[in-house]
């Protein structure tokens, strides 16, 4: 490739990136513009439930040191939600991964486990939230609800991963003299890791939805879901939107982190 060609491809790349950035900006700016116009219109009708972006922004600044409804700073709400999320998520992984591996490897484990998992899987976590709160209390109820939501995507992806192991890889390992245990640790486990990562990605999305909604029921020590709910019930909508935006940002952050992780792992495992 000579110099002018190099310059040309560089310019092409710059142009493509430029177009992408411009369109992203247009998309976000029009979103905020529509929001703004809509709130001006609704406020003119004396409907107060959609505050303008600038009002939400000043509420956000205030809420950093404590909002008027709960009195807690936004960060402590976020940390409270994050804390429940991480616990529920971690326990779900610890339980779901071994069961997934077992159910993937043994058809008897599948015969034994599937009737139960297939019955429970279609039940949305929130339908069971009331039960979890009653059974585990307000402290652990939200954690168990998250656990339930994350459990199934992880379990099913791990199980699917084990069952997808290319039989020729098993043959290759056997002809190389691998024992049953070595086939598990050196073939089945590494093969399953990208599938586990997909399960984690899906589980993260589910986990966030579940935690906010679970905190509507009760959230001692605060939580973003609690903030949204309490602001709603007293009709202070600007602070309610602060909570909503906090959740959106956290959601975007966690999904991009897990996607990045999923990609990196897949790359490292030579799958991509």
């Amino acid at each position: 490739m000579n110099r002018s060609e190099e310059e040309k491809t560089f310019k092409d790349k710059l142009r493509r990136e430029g177009v992408k950035i411009a369109l992203t900006a247009i998309s976000l700016i029009s979103f905020i513009a529509v929001w703004w116009l809509l709130s001006i219109y609704l406020n003119g009708q004396n409907l107060r439930y959609l505050p303008a972006p600038d009002v939400v922004f000043s509420a956000f600044i205030v809420s950093l040191s404590g909002d008027p409804v709960t009195g807690l700073p936004l960060l402590s709400h976020i940390l409270a939600s994050l804390n429940r999320f991480v616990w529920g998520f971690a326990i779900a992984l610890i339980v779901a991964v071994p069961i997934g591996l077992l159910m993937g490897s043994s058809k008897y484990a599948r015969y034994l486990g599937m009737p139960v998992t297939e019955t429970l899987r279609p039940i949305p976590p929130l339908a069971l939230a009331g039960f979890f709160f009653a059974a585990f209390g307000v402290l652990y109820g939200p954690i168990v609800t998250v656990l339930y939501g994350v459990f199934f995507p992880v379990l099913y992806n791990v199980m699917f991963g084990v069952r997808s192991v290319d039989p020729i890889l098993m043959d290759a390992a056997r002809t190389q003299g691998a024992s049953k245990l070595q086939m598990f640790t050196k073939v089945i486990l590494p093969f399953t890791i990208p599938y586990l990562m997909t399960g984690i990605s899906i589980g993260m999305g589910v986990g966030w939805m579940v935690i906010v909604a679970a905190e509507w029921i009760a959230a001692p020590g605060g939580g973003v879901g609690a903030l949204i709910n309490q602001c709603y019930s007293v009709g202070i909508y600007d602070y309610m939107f602060v909570g909503i935006i906090a959740i959106a940002i956290l959601g975007i952050l966690t999904t991009s982190v897990s996607r990045l992780l999923e990609d990196k792992v897949a790359q490292r495992m030579g799958m991509k």
Partner: protein, 252 residues
Amino acid sequence: MSILSFKNVGKVFSKNGEELVAIHDFDLEVDEGEFVCILGPSGCGKTTLLRMVAGLESISQGSIELNGKAITGPGSDRGMVFQDFGLFPWRNVMKNVEFGLEVKNIPTAKRVEIAQRYVELVGLKGFERSHPKELSGGMKQRVGIARALANDPAVLLMDEPFGALDAQTRNQMQTELLRIWKETKKTVLFVTHSVDEAVFLADRIVVMTARPGSIKDLWDIDLPRPRDRASSKFIALRKEILDELEVQKTGT
């Protein structure tokens, strides 16, 4: 000296209560260092036969003995090369070749030394850190061969190893394989459905009958190596064997 002997080997598959005889009365002695090609129509059980030697398939009748010991299961004394390579995608070239040594708990330094030797033998120096995804079909099969050889097996079992490659790469790999065979002096059992490939490679060709597979004919190929595909002897031999295969296809 015979190293591998098939004694009245038979294979019966049972499916839904029905019995299907895949291989029947297969008798063969393979000499140490010999290059034997097993040739036959598809479905004749040649791959099954190889998998039985590898220990991946049970033996229904008779026995297969390696160095006088009956084969009962898989083991690293037989190296297998697969048509679809069967490389571990998450391992790089070195780590793929090291697999069997790792399984045997050979210390890292020794393992790396052995693997490096075989990686170089198959001509992959410089690609040690590449992952299978980054390699061409021919290079993937070079890794497959190195991995099989790294265990220093008594026999090398090859199941249509070049079947997934384009014609040009295929010819190139055949020449490469002969070089590797010469350097390692391994006994090779090579399954193919290509007469051309068999005549180019083999010391001896075993032509199998259609199902149930057994030996139809044995051909000693005493053409000097390197063999010239365009020579009249090569062409004549290829035609003769091809005709024999054709006869059994049409059944006349």
